[in-house]
């Protein structure tokens, strides 16, 4: 379990075309029309100045930018199609090259189901450490989002306490979605530089990436934009994530929702390329449908699954990697709904080869962390991983020699061919395939086993420590940001 191996989907055998090239072209053209005619809000002085210098029509009072299509299209062409997310341990670097799907933990939760007591409570810094340590031990989790909010740390430096906790408890890449102002972004860059031995090394070895949420419909957050620009300047991969929700923050129809979200993301990405051509950027999305009864964010459901399958086709069209939201569920505990939504969303986003797949571990619309859910989501990812390998057909897999040896009747259990290939069959960790009578005596299930596994891992797994001098220096940087 504590191997450094990372299980990642590559060389897919399955394909799904949820949008035709003609559909993509229509969405792209609609997007350009939205950016040119309706505009996108960029509430950042710096962003507005960049737009103005590049020929956009800028309304400074409303902070709305309208941009001609060719400016957007030319800027997007400068984004690198392939780059890597570096890890503290280089053997865990992740290639973003269109041929890999890497799983991350979900992020920004506000409550945790306590691993010992089972009680739901407010999340804190120790939770970040514990979750990250368990994720470090799994082979499914390839990189971290900051899983939950460290609410016992000062708000103005919270994002920094969180990434420090990740680096101290894992050698894998960290993508923070909680650094959204200039002060924290500057400090985070300094902290990342400590790990790789200098700010100038970050472009080659970005051990940190930043994900910024847009403010749909058709808006950005000022602090997020300024933080993104700082990151882009030093080569830290940066993505804008739309979470446009049908019927509230986006049009009810899915095509319109894709266009609105696309306008937010590509306008933000174009801004980064205008400021720093060639800066590593990624597309990020977690669109959903609103609940028609309450207007609430749903997380899960067939619209989510379709968005998951559609968005990488858009990201491919722009030739940039995608970070796609999956595994979202409205379920309040790990149950039928959670399993169903996790399975279908992760499958649909993986089958189109979304580069980064977020993320395992949450219940109740990405609010409540569950350790059991986390490891069961990892198992779902493993199943998808197996399915994506498809069915190999050749002389060896057609097994004609073994078939002849067994003949009609008999069995394959004693065949060498069986021994050679049996480990290719999927071995579940948490699926119940026991005799009924055995279940009857215990009446336990996946949730119990996953939780037990999480407890055991937390107790036993020791990640490679971060150099104490680096920790101390990070602490000093964080202190300088705290009021």
């Amino acid at each position: 379990m504590s191997s450094k191996n990372i299980k990642t989907i590559s060389n897919p055998k399955l394909k799904l075309e949820v949008l035709t090239q003609d559909d993509v072209k229509k969405i792209h053209e609609a997007t350009l029309q939205i950016i040119e005619k309706v505009g996108v809000r960029f509430p950042s002085k710096r962003a507005l100045e960049i737009w103005e210098a590049n020929g956009a029509d800028v309304n400074h009072e409303k902070k709305i930018v309208r941009v001609k299509p060719h400016i957007i299209e030319d800027a997007l062409k400068k984004a690198p199609p392939v780059y890597k997310l570096a890890a503290r341990d280089p053997q865990q670097d992740l290639q973003l090259d269109g041929n890999h799907v890497h799983l991350g933990t979900d992020g920004c939760g506000v409550e945790v189901i306590d691993i010992n007591t089972g009680e739901k409570r407010t999340s804190c810094l120790q939770d970040v450490r514990d979750i990250v340590r368990i994720a470090d031990a799994t082979e499914e989790v390839a990189f971290h989002w900051v899983p939950v909010s460290a609410q016992d740390t000062p708000a103005e430096a919270r994002g920094l306490h969180e990434i420090k906790a990740v680096w101290e408890n894992s050698t894998k890449h960290v993508q923070s979605e909680s650094i959204y102002n200039v002060d924290e972004a500057k400090a985070a860059i300094e902290m990342a530089a400590l790990i790789v031995g200098g700010k100038d090394k970050l472009r080659e070895r970005p051990v940190l990436s930043l994900m910024q949420c847009t403010a749909p419909p058709l808006g950005h957050d000022g602090g997020s934009l300024d933080a993104a620009l700082l990151a882009a300047e030093v080569g830290i991969p940066t993505g804008f994530m739309t979470m446009a929700a049908c019927a509230t923050t986006g049009p009810t129809t899915m095509a319109g929702n894709l266009a609105v979200g696309n306008a937010e993301v590509i306008a933000g990405t174009a801004l980064l390329q205008l400021a720093y051509p060639g800066a590593p950027a990624f597309y990020a999305a977690a669109q959903t449908a609103s609940d028609l009864r309450t207007g609430a964010y749903t997380g899960g459901g067939p619209e989510d699954f379709l968005f998951g399958a559609a968005t990488n086709i858009l990201a491919d069209f722009y030739n940039i990697p995608l970070s796609m939201g999956a595994f979202a569920t409205g379920a309040k505990e790990p149950n039928w709904q959670a399993g169903l939504e996790g399975a279908l969303s992760s499958f649909m986003a993986s089958v189109v080869m979304s580069d980064m797949l977020l993320g395992c571990g949450f219940l109740h619309g990405s609010r409540i962390w569950s350790y059991a859910e986390m490891l069961m989501d990892c198992e779902i990812f493993s199943i998808v991983h197996k399915m994506m390998a498809g069915i190999e057909v050749n002389d060896e897999t057609l097994a004609l020699d073994a078939i002849a040896a067994v003949g009609p009747g008999g069995h394959y259990l004693a065949q060498k061919h069986t021994r050679n290939h049996m480990r290719e069959l999927f071995m579940p960790k948490f699926m119940d395939r026991r005799p009924y009578s055995e279940w009857e005596t215990k009446k336990d299930d996946a949730r119990d086993w996953a939780l037990a596994k999480a407890r055991k891992t937390l107790k036993e797994h020791q990640p490679d420590p971060l150099d104490e001098k680096i920790s101390t220096e990070m602490e000093r940087i964080i202190k300088s940001v705290e009021k």
């Binding site: 409550e111 407010t122 909010s149 708000a155 309450t294 207007g295 609010r367």
Partner: protein
């Protein structure tokens, strides 16, 4: 004649058509109909119908919002007439709404505002990124019964507590009640900051607001 007009008024609300509700409100003024009766016998009937349908699971949130906006538009036409007569529509209470300082997320708050005004509250929505003194200042200015605050980020929701502490310091509670909301808001947080109420959605927010002003639905 007026019976037929009342029916059309109710229907304009049910259809969520602000153009027609405004037109009918203007027509009622031309016909010298009493504005208060126009509201209660005409438009309110439509609002109640949609509310009932929603309760039965037959209507959805967009229909409620559109009805609320059509209602607001009609009232805006009739309110000056009421003032001329020295009368006022009965209000359930006055509410100041805002998204706290440092936070620009407002869809939930806006939705709460629409639902509250459609339900008979007078609502002043200050918008996003509002510091404590602005929120409290406005509450004092309009003699508000309730302050409602929204936050989407764990880093900004701490501002909700600051406003409550400031209100306590000024001795303004329990006269002014405080409601909070937003995706990261949990019951634990509400208890911790000693807010008076919270809801996870806009429909629930109306119920809480009614309770806070002592006018809960029986």
């Amino acid at each position: 004649m007026s019976e037929e007009l009342y029916k059309q008024m109710a229907q304009s609300i049910i259809d969520g058509d602000s153009d027609i509700s405004v037109e009918l409100a203007k027509k009622s003024i031309e016909l010298n109909m009493h504005p208060l009766e126009t509201i209660t016998k005409g438009f309110v009937v439509g609002v109640n119908y949609i509310g009932d349908q929603f309760g039965l699971g037959e209507a959805f949130l967009p229909e409620l919002v559109m009805a609320g906006e059509a209602m607001k538009a009609a009232i805006a036409v009739l309110e000056p007439e009421l003032l001329k007569l020295g009368e006022a529509r009965e209000m359930l209470g006055r509410v100041v709404l805002a998204t706290v300082e440092g936070d620009i997320h407002e869809i939930g708050k806006t939705l709460v505002g629409t639902m509250l005004s459609a339900s008979g509250f007078e609502v002043v929505d200050l918008g996003v990124d509002q510091p404590a003194d602005k929120i409290i200042g406005k509450a004092l200015e309009i003699n508000a019964d309730i302050i409602g605050m929204s936050a989407l980020l764990t880093t900004t929701m701490v501002r909700q507590r600051e406003v409550i502490e400031e209100l306590d310091k000024e001795g303004l509670r329990p006269r002014i009640k405080v409601m909070v909301g937003g995706a990261p808001i949990t019951r634990d947080w509400v208890t911790k900051i000693k807010a008076d109420g919270y809801s996870e959605d806009a429909i629930g927010a109306v119920r809480i607001a009614k309770e806070l002003v002592g006018k809960a639905d029986s």
